[in-house]
Amino acid sequence: MDEIFGVINAGLFGVSLRLATPILLAAIGGLWTQQAGVLNIALEGMMLSAAFSGAAVTYATGSAWAGLLGGMLASMLLAAVFGLFSIRLKADLVVVGIAINLFAAGATLVLMERFFNTKGNFSPGRRLPNITLGPVRDIPIVGDIIGQQNVLVWVGLALVVIAHVVLYRTPFGLRVRSVGENPEAAETAGIRVGRVQFITVLISGALAGMGGVNLSLGYVSQFSTNMTSGRGFIALAAQTFGNATPIGTALASLFFGFADALAVRLQTRELPSDFVLMIPYLATILALVLVARRRSLRARRQSPSESEKPEAATV
């Protein structure tokens, strides 16, 4: 136990914030589709495609900002495909999501081999800048946490606020919430349900893309095979745990970031690293079990007309 407490310090929280950011960005993206009633399991693939494209574009242009844009566009392209098949063609959300994830895993590898002649990893050469808060760095604890963080960390935190404002203070947010809560009612109010859902899918693509780019251009400057390793799903769990509210999702993401950071810290100690690596995933399962009694993903997977019908009581 001492082992565990020994690693908890302000630095750990700084690392937590850093590791939470990719999850946070994708989860904020995911909460938009969730609010609109679309279960988005393609976040993983969107992130991965963005991580690769971001790195590749940076390599080609020499600009990490161009990489950020390229990554987001690639991710949004996949989001558009996801929306096309699941919303327009009414194909099963989960199956389409699986296909998108598979596509991203394959395509990033094919492209990496084709253009970088490697199967492992490559470095784009540059990365997104940190923002150093001069005087703040010297403040104990606070300085350790936020004194020097990547620009996307701040963007992520800003997006939490923006998501909150847009969701609860604008006509668009009102429409998104109504579409997710009662699509039939929204439709009778003259809202084009499919279009609102499609827009949220594109938003999730943009934000998951940012999250992916943060992996390859945030603190390291490297893309490696399958580097998202489940973060898209963890993001999905985070927004479920956060009840798809921006604040709740942010807190859940920070919790998962903390689990991640703890894993990294413990890895350097005597504990078997493999067990430590399981922590974020086990934490995710635990979070899902805790939240499931309240609200399940499954309920969102059903059409509302179906969930209104009498439920067979299991004896």
């Binding site: 063609l89 895993a105 492209l111 084709r114 489940g230 995933y281 899902l288 059409s303 299991t314």
Partner: protein, 347 residues
């Protein structure tokens, strides 16, 4: 009559397949390669010689078994996206029997396979129980458990079961008596093919000729109807996941006993996920799964040829698979997976 019906049933998947090949061809063109070369390598060359066909059979086994594992859960309305993790644990369990137990082959092989299957099933039971009793969605839990399984098996071979002469992340070799017979030298094609084919038939019999299979299909097709008819949907879901886990565990066990002869970290190139594509393309019909698996086995075998002849990596097959899934689901045939619309007009 029957033949016509079969054609009508088989036509949509074939059309989706063609559409997917067309879209993938455009992508290949965009990457500066010739789609004809690529498709010849993927679809014809694997069947051009006994050696390459043997390679197809090697890959066929895990794809077929994994397709069955995914299908049995799908039929009950459960998404088992955790086949990959379950097969890792099954593989380790089988390897453990292989390198610790000294017994004649007729005992050791069944023991290793049974243990692998059981361990896979036990691992699948976790998300099944979480779904049945805590309503925790299996889509995310099964995927999370995949990562846990990778770490867990890695721990086992680098920790308590680390072989004395260990260079890379792998277990000790299994005993010679545990090897599955190879029958098409020089390829590594082994008798697992027949086991897998037999299991496809068995799964067909399970689904269509047993009461459990009937309940499983009905629970997937319309859970309320099943409940009304006195079927416990909860129990059925758990059963389906156990069957799925048994098959997933076997994927790993057979791969260890037939090809790898030891447990290696990262030995599966995603067979558990390929199973999803296989099952979907086969429209979740056990007897069509061997055909779908054969196609993807050819793709996988052909992928190495593609890698040799073009600038493309073998992962081009993953891309192709993803596109196939998209088209197969979009044709709207996955009625039992699709959101059911309210059919009834009240008033």
């Amino acid at each position: 009559m029957r033949a016509r019906r079969l054609i009508i049933e088989a036509l949509p998947p074939i059309l989706s397949l063609l559409a997917a090949l067309l879209v993938a061809a455009l992508i290949i063109l965009a990457l500066g390669e010739n789609p004809v070369t690529v498709y010849r390598a993927l679809l014809f060359e694997p069947f051009s010689s006994l050696r390459t066909f043997g390679r197809v059979l090697e890959v066929l086994v895990p794809l077929l078994l994994s397709g069955l594992a995914v299908a049995v859960a799908f039929r009950a309305g459960v998404f088992n996206l955790g086949v990959e993790g379950q097969l890792y644990l099954g593989a380790f369990a089988a390897a453990w029997v292989g390198f610790t137990l000294a017994a004649p082959g007729f005992l050791q092989i069944p023991a290793a396979m049974a243990f692998g299957a059981i361990v896979g099933a036990l691992y699948a039971l976790i998300p099944a129980l979480l779904r049945a009793y805590f309503n925790a969605d299996e889509i995310v839990t099964t995927i999370m458990l995949n990562y846990v399984a990778f770490s867990l098996t890695n721990y086992l071979i680098t920790g308590p079961f680390r072989p004395p002469d260990a260079g890379s992340a792998q277990s000790e070799a299994i005993a010679l008596t545990a090897h599955l017979g190879r029958w098409l030298p020089p390829s590594r094609a082994h008798i697992g093919v027949f086991i897998a084919l037999a299991l496809a038939v068995l799964l067909y019999l399970l689904l269509y000729r047993t009461t459990i299979g009937y309940e499983l299909r009905m629970a997937g097709a319309n859970p309320r109807f099943a409940e009304y008819g006195g079927v416990s949907v909860r129990r059925t879901i758990i059963m389906a996941m156990i069957f799925s886990g048994l098959l997933a565990g076997l994927v790993g066990a057979v791969e260890v006993l037939g090809i790898q002869y030891r447990f290696r970290a990262g030995f599966s190139p995603g067979y558990g996920f390929d199973g999803i594509t296989v099952a979907l393309l086969a429209r979740v019909e056990p007897l069509a799964i061997p055909l779908a698996a054969l196609l993807f086995a050819a793709l996988r075998a052909g992928a190495s040829i593609v890698q040799l002849n073009t600038e493309l990596g073998r992962e081009v097959v993953d891309v192709l698979q993803a596109i196939i899934i998209l088209f197969v689901t979009a044709e709207g045939l996955w009625y039992f997976l699709r959101r059911r619309r309210a059919l009834w007009a009240s008033g």
